[in-house]
């Protein structure tokens, strides 16, 4: 891509963000006609995008606030009735109350013989089998929980909740939460409990996560049944390398070599290459009537496809190269084809202005 193109993209991106922020802009003359035209069209998009209906907006707001108030009223416990109303005095009262209650508990020693959940006494260790992984490579996670006290220690949920966290966003990308299969477990003094899981580098939507840094968080449940983070003895961090290509790494190539003729045009599907991020489809298309490979006629072909009779997917328009004998077309489907898929139905709906369809049923045989 040349510098002029990059400059136009940069100018367009800057001005578009200003437009979307509600500013009135006037593209500088050096931006050029293309950038100006794109910005004018962007302004039109902004103007025709519907705003939410004010009545819908206010009704929803009222409904949500009502739900919030009901939830708060339901949770309103008896001790708020005896608390002061001003927050500063609530703070003072709360502090004094906790100190007094803590003294009573300590002096009574009533909990000294019972198993307690004491996060600080639990040594939680999580580690991966490698520090750096290739894209898509399974990540083995070993977790060990050790009771470092001289009393029995209760884990409310074993195995604990394991969250894979994105270092950049500090948000979980995937969570192992084996609800229904976990049990409470009591660790004897000095006892350790260990288990391992494999993470396939996919997020909750089933897509491979991006390359970058990740770390592990563990959670047990507190006495109220709410998640409670466990402090790891040392951070459990690892890195995933980005795939070599933005389009993913090719892991399977299917030779198709099927031809369909409709309206004097023969389309031959040659190859389908599957990557972990999508798929490339290659085809050769015979010269349409009136074809002149030097002319500027648009022959981009639009394709849709269905995997295992699932819902329609849009493969978009092709990129193509002309020669005297015809055209080599290529599409990139930017959704991965599931490894377990059996069949794909590909329909080329049109080639430029020429209407099809050309249909192909391909066995994936995976």
């Amino acid at each position: 891509m040349d510098n002029r193109q990059l400059e136009m993209e940069r100018l367009f991106a800057e001005e578009l963000d200003r437009l979307l922020a509600g500013e009135e802009i006037k593209p500088a003359p050096e931006a050029g006609e293309d950038v100006s035209a794109a910005l004018i069209f962007s302004q039109q998009i902004i103007e025709i995008t519907p705003e939410p209906n004010p009545r819908f907006e206010s009704l929803l707001q009222a409904k949500l606030l009502s739900e919030l108030a009901q939830a708060e009223a339901k949770d309103n416990k008896w001790y708020w009735k005896i608390m002061p109303r001003q927050p500063v005095w609530q703070a003072v009262t709360a502090t004094v109350s906790v100190v007094v209650i803590g003294l009573i508990v300590w002096l009574s020693g009533i909990f000294s013989q019972m198993p307690v959940t004491v996060p600080a006494a639990l040594a939680a260790n999580a580690a991966t089998n490698k520090a750096v992984y290739a894209a898509g490579e399974p990540v083995q996670i070993e977790v060990t929980l050790t009771n470092n006290t001289d009393k029995p220690l209760t884990l409310k949920q074993f195995p604990p909740i394991i969250s894979l966290m994105d270092t950049a966003t500090k948000q979980p990308v995937f969570t192992f939460n084996n609800k229904g299969t976990t049990v409470a477990r009591i660790l004897a003094p000095g006892e350790s409990a260990a288990f391992s899981v494999f993470w396939n580098q996919r997020d909750v939507t089933g897509n491979l996560v991006a390359g970058g840094g990740y770390y592990i968080e563990l959670e047990d449940l507190d006495s109220q049944g709410q998640p409670m983070k466990l402090t790891l003895t040392k951070p459990a961090e690892f890195e995933i390398q980005p795939p070599a290509s933005d389009f993913g790494d090719i892991y399977k190539t299917i030779e198709i070599n099927q031809s369909v003729t409709a309206g004097d045009i023969t389309v031959t599907l040659k190859q389908l290459r599957l990557t972990d991020k999508g798929a490339f489809l290659e085809a050769f298309i015979s010269p349409p009537p009136g074809y002149n490979y030097r002319a500027d006629t648009d022959y981009a072909a639009f394709v849709t496809y269905y995997i295992d009779n699932g819902w329609i997917k849009y493969g978009g328009l092709s990129t193509y190269e002309k020669s005297r004998d015809g055209m080599a077309h290529i599409w990139y489907f930017n959704e991965p084809i599931p490894p377990e898929a059996q069949e794909i139905l590909i329909i080329i709906k049109n080639i430029g202005e020429i209407k099809g369809p050309w249909e192909f049923q391909i066995t994936l045989g995976q």
Binding site: F12, T49, K63
Partner: protein
């Protein structure tokens, strides 16, 4: 001391402290409802569905609002993730109806109520725009929705899609020009 108040509030729900939660939520609601609604509008066929899904997004956000930890990420990132997942769940649940309904002219049907002429024109233009958007690749459609609907900047879009910021900029430039050409052809008859 503050954390004690916070803990007791979460346990007991004091009305006065709950009032500040309502104020905070209302402020974020006013800021993000238009963006979430517009993002979803690009993804579904009609206004009623967009309103239903928008409601779902905010109900989910409200149910987890107290536990949202601002230190772990911006509210915008959080609620946008909820919106994306809500739309994905809607598609999965309605997979047979996912193929967009088109009349013989290729326009998308919408259940708009009668409106003044200028709004009718804009609604028609938006219908045509969406019909051209459906002909883009899935990635291009998602990026256009994020940009013009959710008003995300290129860095946020890059984080959400796993692309580089530079790629996002290139895709937006190319896609806007593609849509512009299609749209102008339609306008010029």
């Amino acid at each position: 001391m503050f954390s004690l108040i916070g803990l007791l509030t979460l346990m007991g729900g004091n009305p006065e402290i709950a009032g500040t939660i309502a104020e905070r939520f209302t402020s974020l609601y006013k800021e993000f409802l238009p963006k979430i609604f517009k993002y979803i509008t690009y993804k579904v066929t009609d206004t009623q569905t967009a309103e239903d899904l928008t409601s779902q997004v905010f109900e989910k956000a409200l149910s987890k609002f107290k536990s949202h930890d601002a230190a772990k990420g911006a509210f915008s990132t959080w609620i946008f993730s909820i919106a994306r997942n809500t739309v994905i769940d809607f598609y999965r649940a309605n997979s047979k109806e996912r193929e967009l309904q088109q009349d013989k002219d290729g326009l998308l049907r919408q259940n708009d109520n009668p409106a003044p002429d200028d709004l009718i024109i804009k609604a028609e233009q938006f219908r045509m725009l969406k019909s051209f958007i459906t002909k883009l690749s899935q990635l291009e459609q998602e990026i256009i929705s994020m940009k013009f609907g959710a008003r995300l900047n290129n860095r946020q879009i890059a984080q959400a899609t796993g692309l580089t910021e530079s790629n996002v900029g290139t895709i937006i430039w190319r896609t806007v020009n593609k849509l512009r050409n299609n749209f102008r052809e339609w306008e010029n008859g």
